[in-house]
Amino acid sequence: MNRKRFLSIWTIIAGAACMCLNACVDLDITPKNVVADDDVLSTDAGVNIYMARMYSLMPFEDFKYTAQWGFENNGWLNSAGIEGTGEAVNREGLSAAFTSERTPYWNKGFELILEANYLLENLPNFKENFSEELYNHYLGEAYYARATAFYTMAKRFGGIPLVTKVIPYPASSEEMEVPRATEEETWDQILEDFDQAVELMMEESPIEGYSNKYVALAFKSEAMLYAGSVAKYNQDVSGRLTGLGRKTGVRVIGFDATTWQTASIRYFTEAYKAAREVMQDGGYSLYKKRWTADDPEAQYQNMVDMFSDLSSPENIYVKQYIFPTTTHAFDAYNLPFTFRAPLASGTCPTLDFIELFDGFDRYPDGSIRVTNGDQNASGNYLMFDSPLDFFKDAEPRLRAYVIFPSDEFRNKQIDVRAGVYIGDTPIKPFFSNYAYNTADTRYQNLSIYNGSSKSLYLSPREGGSQEIVDYNGKQMTAAGQEGPFYDNGEATVTGLYLRKWLNTDPNAEGGEGKSAQPFILMRYAEVLLNAAEAAIELRLADATSPDGSDFLQVATDAVNEIRERAGANLLQGTLTADIDGRNTVRKERRKELAFEHKSKWDIRRWRVAHYEGRDGFWGETRDKNKFSNNENYRFRGLYPFFSTKTGKYFFDARFQWVASKTYGYTPLNYYFEIPGGEVAKSAVIDQQPNR
């Protein structure tokens, strides 16, 4: 037997042994490399590690969240307000209505729920290791995390499986399978968990990044506002938007005809109480460090600063980033075109959005005036020395959120121009019709652009593709350096750029993973708006005030406080208990909380995204037929043009010109589809009954 054969026989024997001997004796010894309860749950430092894991699973909608894709935690192409909210649009396919998420929030939710339930069940074994205050706080954190997971799921799916204990595994299917609860039970559970969290948690976070009593109260008010709205406004959707699960017969979406009203009042009352407690005892206030009365410049700068100032008294809960270890790429995708690194213009605010704000001349129907006629197809264009003159009275808050054409950003003038017009003045509107059904006729289809007597110059792309016009002996590009270009959606597609959240430092390095601005997940302004909206809803329902406060006065003060800081016109008198009063609060919310991943939920809970309800889409009442047909809706841009004959600028208000987007929404979308696999593999998980 030579050595080689000997070796190979050994190889075979060893291989066989490996296969045969792999199931011998139980090794009932705790492995040294596995961290057990004793190690983690017995000391504050250990619990801190547990919390870090729990928080890493929290579903925060921030710079790492994209509505079309769900919680995928990578921040790729992250932008704000492009999911059919009307705040902004962009060129990408992901600028589509919020009708589903590619990664549904289901499995990840139950992971977080398990972490929370495990802590609730096992921390009591180590109670004596902690001070009472911290022990309670930790339990409160678990309730808060669970409430957050349930809330995040409920606003997507309606009734969900309420897993409130650790499910043993392996076990029989009866023990492991939890069917969906009714939507009402789900919101009641969320309420209960938030209440437990509020009761147990400390008034100040023991460690930065932890939650506290007021964080829980603030999110509770948001969640209860959602619940109250759904209970109430489901009734307005045809078919009452409710149904029973096929497998269980449980009312998995919507509310019972006999209970919706009381449920709605109960949730609004809870929202109101929670918000009021934050207002009275939380010690928060609106950020006004740079604010000065009657100084629009200071008011504007104040609202730019507030989103990056971590010491802001307005911040209730903030997701922080630290360069270079935990970063995001918001700047990389959303800066104006010439700053692109590697992309740009991910968030292009719309004209419809800026129409919400004060400080513009209007047509009789309330839309922003660009001509001297009575609507934008009549009269002549209004002329301005600089595009900025058009915005000279605009609300400071709007300027802090949106970069106007020719305004400054990072010490640079943002040169936005849609085209150059060399024809005579006065100039008649380019189109005879600006109605929805003509939205696909664009500037490049006009005969003044492509006909024999060319008087309009536009640019398909940047750089060498720019069309050139002689003006005063100098050469002028048709489009501005920052676009828009009709064949390149990489520059602005609406004539406007986002300012909010962007790093304003002129020396900031561009690129993905270079940004570390914090994302404010909850701020005091929202609490004020929650209180105001709940107050009006309660007054509309003739409910009694839980703390004796005057609903309408509270709502009026809240709105005025926000308006004053924003530099907007204050309310004349108090709000009224009717649809107008409610819409005033809604509109304020649409304005103040824009680009914060909040509006898509507001539109959803008000049930104003589908055609029949779409008049209320903007918070205020606008005729839906102006921006939608009975299926889709779309948004407008504001395009500045330069007139060589006068040396002045004029604006045209036209449906999004470049990379034109339409959005669609039906009542089905108010409840997302339950992931098909979860329904198919379980005998108790119901699909949405109306699907």
């Binding site: 190889t11 929805y436 059904n437 003509t438 696909d440 009975n630 699909q687 109306n690």
Partner: protein
């Protein structure tokens, strides 16, 4: 060298030992065809629709898989109210359609089944089936459309295909009944270059619609209604037109989708 060959052999034996080597692991390709049509139970005429999720939805559920089955992916009828699926696996199916007609599956508010007129059948070979339903409305052309200055003017007649009493008898037990359900809400006038003109394939520039609030249409049932297209259609082009009307009732209940009953498509030369 030997060692490499031997260990290679060993790996090979391990790799193939776990599967049934000589049994083809395969499933017959789906080859059953199902053709169907949806017709008006009274007149026997097809229920015209649009191809898309606002038209007539065909839902197949393969019951052979046991109790806990999810429906197959939905598909939709062709504009003439027929459907065909030639790639079905053999099996036992529940076949149902939802559209602008009295729902075939009716349940009360507590989820109790009131009626289930869907078809349950074994599909081992090709089949043709027919659903006899009670559509909400009939939409018919009156005369021939005319063209004037690039506008098409057409006349239609809308009549109820199911009597209000019948509708009420069948729909009221489903709960939340409202007399408004029966109101005619709008007539759509779709214009398109495409012969499959309809809700999806309409040209926004020229299509128009007439809305009716409340029960204001009630006295217009059976009357001739004149529809006019929007804008100006360029001369020398052939376009297709279609009219559609609907009542204030969504099918299936709770979906929020109110489906239209359609007229036939007509070809119009704009000159």
């Amino acid at each position: 060298m030997n060692k490499i060959i031997q260990s290679g052999l060993l790996c090979f034996v391990m790799l193939i030992s776990s599967c049934s080597l000589f049994e083809p692991d395969n499933f017959d390709a789906p080859d059953v065809a199902l053709e169907g049509q949806v017709v008006d139970i009274l007149t026997g005429k097809p229920v015209l629709t649009d191809q898309g999720s606002e038209g007539i939805r065909v839902r197949l559920t393969e019951l052979s898989w046991g109790d806990n089955v999810e429906p197959n992916p939905d598909f939709y009828c062709m504009p003439d109210g027929t459907f065909r699926n030639t790639k079905l696996f053999k099996g036992n199916y529940r076949i149902t359609v939802d559209g602008p007609f009295i729902p075939l599956i009716r349940e009360d508010e507590d989820g109790r089944e009131l009626a289930d007129e869907s078809i349950v059948m074994d599909l081992q070979s090709d089949h043709q089936i027919k659903f006899e339903v009670q559509p909400f409305l009939h939409v018919e052309w009156v005369g021939e459309p005319t063209v004037e200055n690039g506008k098409i003017i057409a006349q239609v007649k809308v009549s109820r295909a199911v009597s209000p009493e019948d509708f009420r008898t069948k729909v009221e037990p489903m709960g939340n009944y409202n007399d408004d359900f029966l109101n005619m809400t709008d007539i759509q006038f779709f214009v398109s270059y495409s012969s499959s003109v309809g809700y999806r394939a309409r040209d926004e520039r020229w299509s128009s619609r007439v809305d009716y609030s409340g029960n204001s249409f009630d006295q217009l049932f059976g009357e001739t209604i004149t529809l006019e297209s929007n804008g100006e259609i360029p001369a020398g082009r052939t376009v297709f037109i279609r009219a559609a009307a609907r009542i204030n009732y969504d099918t299936p209940a709770g979906s929020g989708t109110k489906r239209w009953n359609y007229s036939e498509a007509k070809e119009v030369l704009v000159d």
